[in-house]
């Protein structure tokens, strides 16, 4: 018994000494395992800290399940309603918002009437008017925007994470994210629109999970906030009144039913000409997409973690197999002495366990520590409640117990496969077959290569698992690098380039009752947020074909503004989202008016589903004259006194820059992570390959091959296949980005212009090659140290 114990102890020592020689590889393998566990744990707990309270929050505040957008225009039926019910309105205004300024009661009655018309058409829903006003204000030297929502009574109720609702006209509630970013606290004073307000609390609204106020991709909580005032104060704001309808389902009605009964119907429903768009909350990026985002975040974490863990697992498998092969003689002797397979297995499993468990558990605890910053990062973007991060058995099981058991089981299987051989077989060197499936298949393709070039490939094929790990690892790294680069300039393409190309610095939205007046440095424009082109809900802009302040530029850089004389110019984003092309003839519907228009050009803009039309043509469609306008573009500053809202394009550019810098952080993190993972994989595999070819290398040296030639033969293949994988990754990544863009566009109507440019490919390739040389550097040093006498020793290749 003691003998056996000592035998085990000796074997334990032997395994320890064998593994000790590979401490660098083991350490780096530990880094990969830790990384895998860390990613999953931090993301799962970080998101978990938001997910649970969010569920409760949406429930408690009765989050909308759909939103209905309406035309801000007086249509024929509306005119009849006003004439019949609103004697105080002498002259019909152009817009519903304008009506509110003349006769607020009439405005509410009219909208109540619209809500009734909707309820007459569709059952099983409850709807409520949702009003808002945007106020631009300067604070701490920068331009900010607050979207005030009028407090609702049934759907999308306000939710307070701290403090309380405003109760007086000089109190305001804002988002905690904005307050934290700007150093504001409850009871601090905030000056809005020339008036001082005391912050009474921090508010959230369930229909604004993102502070995203348009279909551009800006959701910056540092310069944008939601706001709540008491109703009378809201009404007294002089800003443009915006409205839509929020709705929820009743009696077990579902998204699917709604999609079929309402969304498929409303465009063709003659009783609802005022409805411009209906959007399910799950398809609404600013509200319901958070579900997909949270689930997606967890799935992505799980996916990333599994890929990294799989790579680690395969490398562990190869290493275990290598160690056992190097010990097969010793194992053969132990077996012949009467040791059981189990007794021989125990030391190996013991070391695998004590080496892998700390790595997994370290990743887990780092993940627990990282969860809170991860949650905070989420909350810098999302307007959601949160709770303290706490550990759960489930996450621990998935992050630690599962992978650990899996690793041990896989190692056990590999060990037992070798141990199941008879002692006499183990006491002899392994008989290596000359060729596996891949070698056989590829040999014929390599026939014409020089023998040294052929060896570069064939030596890699010898171990298919190792080769597969390399390919997967390199694909993973290359994809992350390319994805990172594709994100460069996303915001530039979406917003910055657009505003940078235009010559207007200010946009003024005219008062409903006063006509737009312009001077020399200004141009009249019509902006209609809701029009329908074919089946697409679009943002229509009436523009002068001779416009200097807003030129339309196509992708070749040509000015196509004067094409507006002949038809419609659409944005690239509209073209990509809807598939519309030059030459398409479509019905353009603006309220109850419509006309057939031809798409004559595509302007290189990625900001929403927008179309441009000749301003005179649009004016005639909307009114009896060709001179109507509701917006002014100006190169010089506009006075806030003359307009409902004045927007500075400079502040939009600043927001776009801020968003891009957020993307840039992600880009740097992703590139860094790719290089670390890729570099470790290259290092471990090249070192393994050099160890596998220890005697070959010595033999080549004896034959007179120099180090450079040997290096090329032994690990040069990795570079060739690495570059091959990289080149394959480009079209794959391109396809994936296209799908991602398409998915975002189709599901959320937002175009995320990820783009791979030639220099991205070139630069990524440089990073990739640097990554390879960094990874292989130490391996090459090992190669030069192999002595020439090794070729004379007993071995079998």
């Amino acid at each position: 018994m003691l003998q056996r114990f000592l035998g085990d102890k000796m074997l334990l020592k032997n395994v320890y000494r064998t593994l000790k020689k590979q401490y660098v590889q083991l350490l780096l393998l530990g880094v990969i395992i830790t990384l895998s566990s860390f990613i999953y744990t931090s993301m799962d707990y970080g998101i978990g800290g938001i997910y649970a309270p969010t569920e409760e929050y949406f429930e408690e505040t009765n989050q909308e399940e759909f939103a209905i957008q309406m035309l801000d225009m007086i249509l024929e039926d509306d005119a009849v309603f006003i004439t019949t019910n609103c004697p105080a309105v002498i002259e019909l205004p152009f817009s519903i918002s304008g009506l509110k300024e003349i006769d607020s009661t009439c405005y509410y009655n009219l909208l109540e009437n619209r809500l009734d018309l909707i309820l007459n058409e569709y059952d099983n829903i409850t709807i409520e008017l949702r009003e808002s006003k945007d106020v631009y204000f300067n604070f701490q030297g920068k331009s900010n925007r607050v979207r005030f929502l009028k407090d609702s009574s049934e759907i999308n109720l306000s939710f307070f994470v701290a403090g309380s609702k405003p109760t007086t006209s000089d109190e305001v509630a804002i988002t905690e994210a904005f307050a934290l970013s700007n150093g504001l606290s409850i009871l601090d004073t905030l000056r809005l629109d020339g008036k001082d307000y005391t912050i009474s609390g921090f508010v959230l609204f369930p229909d604004y999970s993102l502070a995203m106020f348009s279909d551009t991709f800006i959701f910056d909580n540092e310069t944008q906030t939601m706001g709540l005032l008491i109703d009378s104060e809201f009404e007294s704001l002089n800003e443009k009144n915006q409205f839509e309808i929020a709705g929820v389902f009743r009696d077990g009605y579902t998204d699917k039913d709604f999609d079929k009964d309402v969304i498929d119907d409303f465009r063709h429903n003659d009783n609802l000409p005022f409805v411009s768009n209906i959007l399910l909350t799950i398809n609404n990026l600013r509200s319901g997409a958070i579900y997909a985002e949270i689930e997606g975040g967890r799935d992505t974490a799980m996916g990333l973690s599994i890929v990294i863990a799989s790579i680690a697992l395969l490398i562990v498998g190869i290493m275990v197999s290598k160690v056992l092969q190097s010990q097969r003689g010793a194992i053969g002797i132990l077996k012949s002495m009467g040791y059981t397979n189990f007794e021989i297995t125990v030391p190996y499993i013991f070391f695998i366990a004590i080496l892998s468990f700390p790595a997994i558990i370290l990743g887990y605890f780092l993940g627990v520590l990282g969860a809170d910053p991860m949650k905070t990062l989420y909350l810098t973007i999302y307007l959601l409640p949160s709770q303290d991060v706490f550990q759960t058995v489930n996450t621990f099981a998935v992050a630690v117990v599962g992978p650990f058991i899996f690793l041990i089981v896989v190692s056990f299987i590999i060990i037992r496969r070798i141990l199941n051989q008879k002692p006499v077989v183990l006491l002899n060197p392994p008989i290596t077959s000359s060729s596996n499936y891949l070698t056989k298949k590829m040999h014929r393709f390599l026939a014409k290569l020089k023998i040294t070039s052929k060896l570069q490939h064939l030596l890699l094929y010898r171990n298919m698992v190792k080769f597969f790990v390399f390919l997967i690892g390199m694909f993973y790294a290359a994809f992350l690098i390319l994805l990172s680069f594709s994100m460069i300039g996303v915001m530039d393409r979406m917003l910055y380039d657009y505003y940078d190309n235009t010559n207007h610095n200010y946009i003024g939205y005219c008062d409903y009752l006063d006509p737009c007046e312009t001077t020399g440095s200004q141009e009249k424009v019509i902006e209609l947020p809701s029009a329908v082109l074919g089946d697409e809900d679009i943002y229509l802009v009436g523009l002068n074909p001779n416009s200097d302040l807003h030129q339309l530029i196509d992708k070749r850089g040509n000015n196509i503004t004067d094409d507006l004389e002949e038809g419609l110019v659409i944005t690239t984003s509209l073209s990509l989202i809807s598939g519309l092309k030059v030459g398409n003839e479509l019905l353009l519907e603006v309220g109850e008016e419509s006309k057939i228009v031809e798409i004559i050009g595509v302007t290189e803009e990625y900001s929403g589903s927008k179309a441009y039309i000749n301003i005179e043509e649009l004016s005639l469609l909307l009114t009896d004259t060709s001179t109507y306008s509701n917006t002014v573009y100006s190169s010089t500053e506009l006075s806030k006194d003359d307009y409902l809202v004045v927007v500075s394009t400079q502040s939009i550019l600043e927001q776009a820059e801020k968003m891009q810098s957020m993307f840039n952080i992600m880009i740097y993190v992703m590139i860094f992570a790719s290089i670390i993972i890729g570099g470790i994989i290259v290092y471990i595999l090249t070192v393994m390959t050099i160890e596998d070819n220890f005697y070959n290398i010595s033999l080549f040296k004896v034959m007179g091959y120099n180090n450079k030639e040997i290096d090329k033969m032994i690990i040069g293949g990795y570079l060739i296949y690495g570059i091959g994988v990289f080149l394959i990754t480009i079209p794959v990544a391109y396809g994936m980005f296209y799908l991602m863009t398409y998915y975002m566009a189709q599901f959320y109507g937002i175009l995320m212009p990820l783009k791979i440019e030639l220099w991205h490919g070139g630069f990524s390739l440089i990073i990739f090659v640097v990554l390879f040389y960094l990874g292989a550097y130490v391996a090459k040093r090992k190669l030069t140290k192999i002595s020439l006498q090794e070729a004379m020793k007993m071995y079998q290749i």
């Binding site: 008989i431 023998i451 007179g704 120099n706 004379m792």
Partner: protein, 233 residues
Amino acid sequence: MSIKLENVTKTYFTGEVETHAVKNVDLEIKDGEFIVLLGPSGSGKSTMLNIISGLDNPTSGKISIDEAVISDMNSKQLTKFRRDNLGFIFQQYNLLQTLSVKENVEVGREVSLLPFTVEEVLEQVGLSTQADKYPFQLSGGEQQRVSIARAVVKNPKIMFCDEPTGALDEEMAKEILGILQKLNEKYKTSVVLITHNPSIGAMADRIIKLNSGEVVEIIVNKNKLNASEISWG
């Protein structure tokens, strides 16, 4: 090519223990000569071969091959020298398992200035019909023939053979030695063969006996036998 060793010593240091693997050896091997270095295990045969062939450096002394003083060469120069002039055969065949017979021979040919053709060499070692086979499909003797072909295809001026028949039975060993003898005669290649089997000395021009790192005897063999005529000890 002739090889000249002048007062060559190789000492290994293990902790405080000094081991003289080769001691003050003076020796000359003439161009085209077939030399057998004979001695028991630990006599310094392999160390001597390593030093003569430039695989290892002597601790002191001078080694020249023709005009080239290889004991003064750096690693790069030695690599070039081996590449252009030397061939090696070991007890282990050291064949690349992923390559066919023909391809294994090509590995040797690739680094040579004036190589023979692969076909010619395979013909000489009697493996013409096995050219497309893989090492694992060959017997031990056949594998050793491939390693000889790989060394010979370089058209080396000197061949160093470290116990080339050590892993073979008598019949196969004689075949291999016959091939070496034939190549020595046909191409005038100098052969330095180390063995612990005294019988093999019968086919050499000279037998150099080593013991404890010293040359104890040099026998000039005036009655060279063919490899097939050797009586195996």
